[in-house]
Subunit: 169 residues, 2 copies
């Protein structure tokens, strides 16, 4: 068994895997005659390949806790997938486990895994083709707004992890 | 001065203006080895005209209360615009004021206005070209995830309301 320790989630540390969705250091400006502040383009949505369209869904994820043994990694080769927690509680958190899109085998993935803990109203956009573990909400059932792709073509690859890898602090 | 009274917001009553985003009566199914429930395609995103792309932003809207005098109506002729409140509190609410896309003048808009109160985790997608009042959060400053269009072309028409129309219960 091997262990994976989460590191600090920042725009920079997440950039190889997509975009971090956060109000911190984001461009914002007043609109609507000054009555609304727009935090602009926190993430782009990249789903147009093979005539894909963006759709808005909600994912309700079961509660997990650390240590957590990873089960499977998946990726969407035709489109980005964005997750935004429907909460602003700073004690809300979830685990983000990713591997770069160049990985082709379980060994590639295992050798390039990164884990992060996302807190409060912090979202992620997994770029097209980036490997990620399915949703791991921590400590409570959690709802996420998800923006991803609907359209023709195979848009999901999965690799079951036969090696035992456990995420723990 | 004339008055506009909000009516009940349902998928059916909102359908001339776009899509209501709600978990009620929505398609849902288990994914991620049964650990996540996916409430699927609560809304589509319609932004591809003239090479548009979807972006994810956050709007922080000031607090208003009823009675509320309408100021301006706007529409986005090239793309849909979706609003999802970042809350699941059932006592959270906002005002939705719309007019059909066929309206061309202030008189057209005024003669076809509809107002609704959206509560809790209820979102709306304004269809392409549907007239709507800028964000009117009720009773508190409120954050909304917004999915709309980035791209070339003029995507905002505005008509200032010179007639005094007040929304009240």
């Amino acid at each position: 068994m091997s262990f994976l320790h989460p590191t600090t989630l920042t725009k920079e540390s997440f950039s190889p895997f997509g975009e971090l969705i956060t109000l911190e250091e984001s461009e914002h400006f007043a609109i609507n005659q000054g009555t609304t502040e727009r935090y602009h383009a926190l993430s782009e949505v990249d789903v147009s390949e093979q005539s894909g369209k963006a759709i808005i869904s909600l994912f309700r994820g079961q509660s997990f806790s650390l240590p957590f043994q990873l089960k499977v990694m998946e990726r969407h080769p035709l489109g980005s997938q964005s997750f935004l927690p429907v909460t602003q509680n700073d004690d809300h958190s979830y685990l983000v486990v990713v591997a770069p899109s160049f990985c082709k085998t379980e060994d590639d993935i295992v050798n390039n895994l990164c884990a992060f803990v996302a807190k409060g109203f912090t979202g992620v956009t997994y770029a097209k083709g980036v490997w990620h573990h399915p949703l791991i909400s921590l400590d409570r059932v959690s709802d996420f707004i998800v923006i991803d792709r609907k359209g023709p073509g195979n848009n999901c690859d999965e690799i079951n992890l036969t090696q035992k890898i456990t995420v723990k602090f």
